[in-house]
């Protein structure tokens, strides 16, 4: 029993991180209809930024986090204005190919700069653990969960309680109508993309001190985020969080209960789950809405 609750706790911690990066993917896809295949690479850019700040300047990742998120917003904004924004109105294939290309470039640059050696952002609390009701979490993972929760709550508030957030939602619901009421769609795209990238940069920062990362991790993260978005339904934050928890739990359970091979099966499990769900409900767990609607 003790072991089970420990596994569940680990799953929830992992799920928190997944929720954060999946929310970024879901937001961009919901608003722009662009499925960002460079998503995982963006997580890694965040992780490497935090690592660089810590390694060369001695700045704690949690202190650097807000700055990295601002950088993430800027990076996303520029990326949208220069490249991604050009293909939004074109067939989805074009944005897929484009973000696929961006992902490859990011991977190439990260390899060049940091080599393929795995890195971990070491902090003063790297080896500490937190005790919760007799269960233990390494402190960096506790911060990962905490950070994810705080950032997701703030994102929810931003999307639902501010003018900018409501513009984003309006654009996601009906682009033509949003234009009619005077919303600058191009600006909304850039802002939404910026927020999405800020979220994944934050995810990367938090992940970087909790576990090792390397340039080839990107597609893996993209896949996990995608599986969560399909399971949870696009543009539904509660759905995303729940699905993230499910994927996180499955992963930790596989790792602890399936001897020797369990740890290597994260994607396979997520993928099989996605296929099974789609067999039963072609429109995702949230059902009802057409997945093609893009909202």
């Amino acid at each position: 029993m003790g072991q089970l609750s420990q596994v569940v706790l680990d799953g929830i911690v992992l799920g928190g991180f997944y929720a954060l990066i999946a929310q970024g993917l879901s937001l961009v896809f919901g608003v722009m209809g662009v499925l960002n295949l460079a998503h995982g690479e963006c997580v890694l850019i965040g992780a490497y930024l935090a690592w660089t700040a810590q390694h060369y300047l001695g700045i704690d990742p949690l202190v650097a986090l807000p700055v990295i998120m601002v950088l993430g917003f800027g990076f996303g904004w520029v990326l949208c204005k220069t490249l991604v924004g050009r293909v939004v109105e074109r067939p989805p294939l074009m944005s897929l190919l484009l973000t696929f290309g961006i992902g490859a470039v990011a991977q190439g640059v990260l390899l060049r700069l940091f080599s393929s050696t795995p890195r971990v952002t070491t902090t003063s609390y790297s080896d500490d653990v937190v005790n919760v009701f007799g269960l233990t979490i390494p402190t960096p993972r506790a911060f990962m969960l905490l950070g994810a929760v705080v950032i997701l709550v703030l994102t929810w508030a931003l999307l639902n309680r501010t003018r900018v957030g409501r513009s984003i939602q309006a654009a996601a619901q009906n682009k033509a109508a949003a234009r009619v009421v005077g919303i600058d769609i191009g600006a909304v795209y850039a802002i939404a993309f910026g927020i999405g990238i800020a979220l994944v940069f934050a995810g990367g920062t938090l992940l970087g001190s909790a576990q090792g990362f390397y340039p080839f991790l990107g597609p893996l993260l993209t896949m996990k985020a995608f599986a969560i978005v399909v399971l949870g339904g696009v543009g539904r934050m509660t759905g995303t969080v729940l699905a993230a928890m499910v994927i996180g739990l499955i992963e930790t359970m596989l790792a602890s209960y399936v001897p020797s091979v369990g740890t290597g099966l994260g994607i396979a499990a997520a993928f099989i789950l996605v296929v099974l769900v789609l067999v039963v409900r072609p429109n995702g767990i949230s059902g009802g809405k057409q997945v093609t609607a893009g909202v």
Binding site: F29, G33, L35, L37, L83, R86, V87, R90, P91, P92, L93, M94, S95, L96, L97, L98, F100, G101, I102, G103, A104, V105, A106, Q107, G108, V109, L111, R112, P219, L220, T222, M223, F226, A227, V230, V261, G264, L265, G266, I267, A268, A270, F271, I272, V274, V275, L278, V279, P282, V291, T292
Partner: protein, 349 residues
């Protein structure tokens, strides 16, 4: 690839066919290659030249380069059937390449089957996988299908890595090597010719038109009585089976497989890049894109250096932004435009 609102009285697949006849095949036809006999003659002459080429004492590296080109023509043209014709862009198509290679590898090591017996079984494995995965996934529209296939690709790589007692894990499987470049030259040439001619036939067949109808307007196609599920699944199975076949042959040629090379990401980027460069959804585009790309890479790049990801990524971005319709698509557009102008003049405008 934009689909307008369906016009009343025009069948969607008819519309697609009209649109497409303006694109690749007749696009070229309208220019110098108007006479189909001339085109067939040119094709036969080129083929004859390629058939006798090895007799002229090419060295092994030249033969390898040419057979690589042929292999990629086979891969791109088969990818084009699902991604270009039906519009369901398969971003994980490398999964079939890996399945083919592993089918051969596992049969050779576990059952001790002679390699050439495994060759017909590899496409069968690809077909079965395509059926199993395609049935649920092809119900997903657009980007969902694309990335779900990427998931299938990564999942199979994980499985190949993890079940090491069965697959050899990251240690891989070593074949008995047969180093016969000329043999593989002819094998891959045969596959390339078969797939390209198959595509030519498909493009003119009812089935091919139905695929284009699915791409242009799936709901419309369904309304016209096209069994869209069957059409998509057929395209996917054919495409997957051919890729699995090529994968098994490549594995045999290389004499070694492991998850990292049979399920390699770069294959996915290469496919997307070559086909987009040549012209997605056109008949000759994939073959042209593969040839141009590999020869360019060979002359400009030499071997795959450490920055090859960077290079491919930038190339893909540039192609998407500058040449989204590919070489064949852009030429066809231009020919179409010229024809329209001529027609305009004849009308006295």
């Amino acid at each position: 690839m934009s689909s307008g609102t369906p016009t009343i009285g025009t069948a969607p697949h008819q519309k697609a066919a009209d649109r497409l006849s303006a694109a690749p095949a007749r696009g070229l036809a309208s220019s110098r290659f108007a006479d189909p006999r001339l085109r067939a003659g040119l094709f036969a002459a080129g083929l004859a030249a390629l058939l006798v080429t090895p007799a002229f004492g090419l060295n092994n590296s030249a033969l390898l380069l040419l057979s690589t080109v042929f292999m990629w023509i086979g891969l791109t043209s088969s990818w084009n059937i699902i991604s270009g014709f039906t519009g369901y862009v398969d971003f994980g198509h490398g999964v079939f390449f890996g399945i083919g290679g592993y089918t051969a590898g596992l049969l050779v090591t576990h059952v001790d089957m002679p390699f050439w017996y495994t060759v017909p079984l590899a496409p069968v494995a690809g077909l079965v996988f395509a059926l199993l995965v395609g049935y649920p996934l092809l119900r997903l529209r657009g980007v969902y299908f694309s990335i779900a296939m990427l998931g299938a690709f990564m999942a199979m790589r994980e499985l190949a890595l993890v079940f090491r007692d069965f697959t050899g894990g990251s240690g891989g499987i070593i074949f008995k090597a047969v180093i016969d470049r000329t043999l593989f030259y002819y094998v891959f040439l045969g596959i390339a010719v078969a797939v390209v001619l198959g595509t030519v036939w498909l493009r003119r067949s009812q089935l091919g038109s139905s695929m284009l109808a699915v791409r242009e307007n799936e709901i419309g196609a369904e309304a016209r009585g096209i069994n869209t599920t069957a059409v998509k699944l057929t395209a996917f199975c054919v495409s997957g089976a051919i890729t699995a076949l090529i994968g098994s042959l490549w594995a045999y040629q290389t004499a070694f497989i492991d998850p990292a090379i049979m399920f390699r990401d770069i294959l996915l980027i290469n496919l997307a890049l070559m086909v987009t460069l040549g012209g997605l959804g056109t008949v000759w585009g994939p073959a042209l894109g593969a040839t141009v790309f590999i020869l360019l890479r060979e002359t400009l790049w030499g071997t795959e250096g450490e920055d090859f990801l960077l290079f491919f990524g930038v190339a893909l971005i540039v192609v998407v932004l500058v040449l989204p319709k590919g070489i064949v698509g852009s030429l066809a557009d231009r020919a179409h435009l010229a024809r329209a102008r001529r027609a305009g003049k004849e009308d006295g405008r």
